[in-house]
C-alpha cells in the first residue's frame, strides 16, 4: 500500500478524455516520476492530486484518507506540498517572510487570528525559517525582496518553502522546465540532496529524460491519459511501448 493511491481516475473535458482509468501508487520514501509526451494528461493528473480539479470518477487516497473534494489548502495541511513549473512565491515579501509563512501554516493551521502578537517575538518560527534558509544556502539573501531574485534562487526558495513544512509528499511539476543547463544541474543536485538528507517522498512530472533518469526510483509512463507501464528506470529505458509512445509523437 503506497502513501498515495490513485484508482480508476477518469476526467473528460468536453469531448477529450484527459484521463482514462488512471491507476497509480506512490510508495513511501521513493522518488516516483510520471513521464509522457505532451498532452498525455500529466498536468491534469497533478491538478487532481492537489484538489484543483475534481475527476469524474475514481478515488485518490493519501495516507489513508480521501483527497477528493477537498480544497487545495486542506490537501496541503494533509501533507502534500507542490512545486510549480514557474516558481510561485510571495513576490512583494522578503525571502525570510516567504519561508516564515509556511512555518506559521504548519504550526497554526489554515487560519489563526494572531493580529496583536509581533512577528519579532515568534522566536521558534524565526529559528526554523533561518535554519531552512541556511540549508538551501540563501541565508545571506534573507532580507531581499523575492522579486529581485534570479530564477534559480526563486526555485530554491520555493523548494525551501515546501520543505520547511516537512511534507509527507512533495509534488514537482516540471521543476527544470525552461532552465539553462547549469540551472538544471543545480536543481538535480538540490533534489538529490533533499532526497538523501530528508528522505522525502516525491512525485515528479518531467519532460527532461536526463532529470528523470538521474532522480527517479520508479517511473510511470502516461500516454493519451492512460498509464502505459510502471517500472524501475532500467526497464523503462528500452521498453518497446515507451519508445512507441514517444516516437509516435515525434512522427506527428
Amino acid at each position: 500500500m503506497g502513501i498515495l493511491e490513485v484508482k480508476g481516475i477518469n476526467k473528460r473535458f468536453g469531448g477529450l478524455q484527459a484521463l482514462g482509468d488512471v491507476n497509480l501508487s506512490v510508495e513511501e520514501n521513493t522518488v516516483h516520476a510520471i513521464i509522457g509526451p505532451n498532452g498525455a494528461g500529466k498536468s491534469t493528473l497533478l491538478n487532481v492530486l492537489v484538489g484543483k480539479l475534481i475527476p469524474d470518477s475514481g478515488s485518490v487516497m493519501f495516507d489513508g484518507q480521501s483527497v477528493l473534494g477537498r480544497k487545495p489548502h486542506e490537501i496541503n495541511q494533509m501533507g502534500i506540498s507542490r512545486v510549480f513549473q514557474t516558481p510561485e512565491i510571495f513576490t512583494d515579501l522578503t525571502v525570510f517572510e516567504n519561508v516564515m509563512i509556511p512555518c506559521f501554516a504548519k504550526r497554526d493551521g489554515a487560519f489563526r487570528m494572531h493580529a496583536i502578537e509581533s512577528i519579532t517575538s515568534e522566536k521558534g518560527i524565526r529559528a526554523q525559517a533561518e535554519e531552512m534558509l541556511a540549508d538551501v544556502n540563501m541565508l545571506e539573501k534573507r532580507d531581499m525582496l523575492t522579486s529581485s531574485l534570479s530564477r534559480g534562487d526563486k526555485r530554491r526558495l520555493e523548494m525551501a518553502m515546501c520543505l520547511v513544512q516537512d511534507p509527507k509528499l512533495l509534488l514537482l511539476d516540471e521543476p527544470t522546465a525552461g532552465m539553462a543547463r547549469a540551472d538544471t544541474e543545480n536543481t538535480i543536485n538540490l533534489l538529490k540532496e533533499i532526497r538523501t538528507k530528508r528522505g522525502i517522498t516525491m512525485a515528479i512530472i518531467e519532460h527532461d529524460m536526463n532529470v528523470v533518469f538521474s532522480l527517479a526510483e520508479r517511473i510511470t509512463v502516461l500516454a493519451q491519459g492512460t498509464p502505459l507501464v510502471e517500472d524501475i528506470p532500467e526497464n523503462i529505458k528500452g521498453h518497446p511501448k515507451v519508445r512507441e509512445a514517444y516516437l509516435g509523437e515525434a512522427q506527428v
Binding site: H73, N76, E88, D92, D108, F111
Partner: protein, 400 residues
C-alpha cells in the same frame, strides 16, 4: 516600547505630538490677519481631520494589506453614525456607549457584506461592495425612513425617551453629547499675542481615539496576521498551496476595517448628533479610496496624511475666491493681474476638485507609493547629498 519596534514607536510619538499640538500647528497665522482664513485649527475641521484619519487607517488595513479594493466602506461609516444617534436618542447623551455600539453594529454589518462580497476578488469584489453600499444608501434614503430619518436624516428631538438622562435640559433644549459630563463642544480659547488657539474637548476625544486606532494598526501591520494579509495580496495560489485559507483572513481584515469605519461614523455623530444617508453614498466611499492612495496605500502614516490633505483642500483651499486672488496679485499691472487671476481661478475656490485631481494624477503616476514615498525620496536624496558632502568636505568651498 509598548511592543513596538523603535522605528514604529517613533512614528507613534510623532502622531501623538501632531494630534496633541494640532490646534497650535494648524493656526500659524495671527487671528484677524488677512491669512487667518487659511488657519485650519478650528474644532470642526480638526475633528474632521482625525475622524477621516481613523476611517482611512481602517480602510488601509483592508486595501493596503490585502489589495481588496472596497468601494462601499462609507456604508459602514453611515451605519456607525445612525447607531450612535439612536444611542443618544434612547439611552444617554454619553458618547462612550454610542461609539461602542456604532463599532459593534458596523462590525456585524461588515461581516454580512464581507461574507458575500469576498466570494469574488478583483474588480468583481469592488463592484459587489459598491452595489451593497448603494443599496444601503437607497434603503436609508427611502424605505428605512422610520429608522434613518430618510431625506432629512436622523436627528435628536425634544421628546426622545433617553432612559439614562433627561429628554430636555432645564431650559427646554436638546441636551448635547458629552463624555461623563464633559460636553463635546466645550472649548477653551487661548490667546497668545495676536494668535488665538482653540482647544476643543470633542477634538481631543477624537484625537485620543485616533492615537489608539493608529497604535492598533501598527500592531496589526507587524503581526503574523498582517504578514498573511500581505501574502494574500502577493500570491493567492501560493497561499492556498501553503495550506492557508485566504477567505477567513480577508474576511477578518474586512470586518476590522468596517469597525474602524463604524468608529469614525460614531465619532462623527458624537461631535454633531445627526446622521444623514449621504454619508453612505458612493462618493463618500470613493473619498476614502482617494485618501488612502494619495497618502500611500499599505504604509502606516500615509492614509492619515491623505485624509488631512483632502480635508484641507475641501475646507481651506476652496476658500480662495477671486477677491483673494486679486488681493494677492494686486502688485501686478492691471492687465497682467486680471490675466493671472483668470488663469489661476479655475484651480482654486470652487475649482478645488480640479487641483486635487491633478495632484492625485501626479501622485499616482510619479509616486505610486503616495505622499509617503515622496517623503522617502526627499529624505533619501538629502542623505545622499550629506554623504557626498561628508566624503569630500572641501568640495563646496571656493577655490583659493
Amino acid at each position: 516600547m509598548l511592543g513596538l519596534e523603535k522605528k514604529d514607536f517613533r512614528l507613534l510619538l510623532v502622531v501623538i505630538g501632531l494630534t496633541l499640538f494640532a490646534p497650535i500647528i494648524l493656526n500659524p497665522f495671527p487671528a484677524g490677519s488677512e491669512m487667518a482664513q487659511f488657519n485650519a485649527g478650528y474644532p470642526d475641521l480638526m475633528q474632521r481631520f482625525v475622524i477621516f484619519g481613523i476611517f482611512a487607517i481602517g480602510f488601509n488595513i483592508l486595501f493596503g494589506l490585502t489589495g481588496y479594493l472596497s468601494f462601499g466602506h462609507a456604508a459602514f461609516l453611515g451605519v456607525g453614525s445612525y447607531s450612535a444617534v439612536w444611542m443618544f436618542k434612547l439611552l444617554s447623551m454619553n458618547v462612550l456607549p454610542a461609539i461602542i455600539l456604532s463599532v459593534i453594529i458596523a462590525g456585524l454589518f461588515s461581516l454580512l457584506i464581507g461574507f458575500i462580497s469576498l466570494r469574488r476578488s478583483g474588480i468583481y469584489f469592488s463592484i459587489l461592495t459598491l452595489a451593497f453600499a448603494q443599496m444601503s444608501f437607497a434603503l436609508a434614503y427611502s424605505v428605512l425612513t422610520p429608522i434613518t430619518g430618510g431625506e432629512t436624516g436622523l436627528q435628536l428631538a425634544l421628546d426622545d425617551p433617553r432612559i439614562l438622562g433627561a429628554s430636555q435640559t432645564a431650559s427646554g433644549n436638546i441636551p448635547v453629547p458629552s463624555l461623563f459630563g464633559l460636553e463635546m463642544r466645550a472649548s477653551y480659547e487661548m490667546a497668545v499675542g495676536a494668535w488665538s488657539f482653540t482647544f476643543n474637548a470633542g477634538y481631543y476625544l477624537a484625537a485620543v481615539i485616533l492615537v489608539l486606532a493608529f497604535y492598533l494598526a501598527i500592531r496589526i501591520f507587524r503581526s503574523p496576521f498582517g504578514m498573511m494579509l500581505r501574502a494574500i495580496k502577493s500570491n493567492q495560489t501560493r497561499m492556498s498551496y501553503t495550506g492557508l485559507n485566504a477567505r477567513p483572513y480577508t474576511l477578518a481584515a474586512f470586518v476590522i476595517s468596517g469597525m474602524y469605519a463604524g468608529l469614525a461614523g460614531g465619532l462623527m455623530a458624537s461631535m454633531d448628533p445627526l446622521a444623514g444617508a449621504e454619508r453612505m453614498q458612493w462618493t463618500a466611499s470613493g473619498e476614502v479610496v482617494l485618501m488612502t492612495i494619495l497618502g500611500g496605500a499599505g504604509t502606516l502614516i500615509g492614509p492619515v496624511l491623505g485624509a488631512g490633505m483632502i480635508k484641507y483642500f475641501e475646507n481651506i483651499f476652496s476658500k480662495i475666491n477671486s477677491q483673494v486672488l486679486h488681493d494677492w496679485f494686486g502688485f501686478l499691472p492691471d492687465g497682467l493681474e486680471d490675466f493671472v487671476v483668470t488663469l489661476i481661478y479655475p484651480f482654486v475656490g470652487k475649482g478645488w476638485h480640479l487641483t486635487l485631481g491633478i495632484v492625485f494624477m501626479l501622485v499616482v503616476i510619479f509616486l505610486p507609493g503616495g505622499l509617503v514615498q515622496g517623503g522617502q525620496k526627499i529624505a533619501a536624496a538629502m542623505r545622499r547629498r550629506k554623504k557626498t558632502d561628508d566624503a569630500n568636505p572641501g568640495a563646496t568651498k571656493p577655490a583659493e
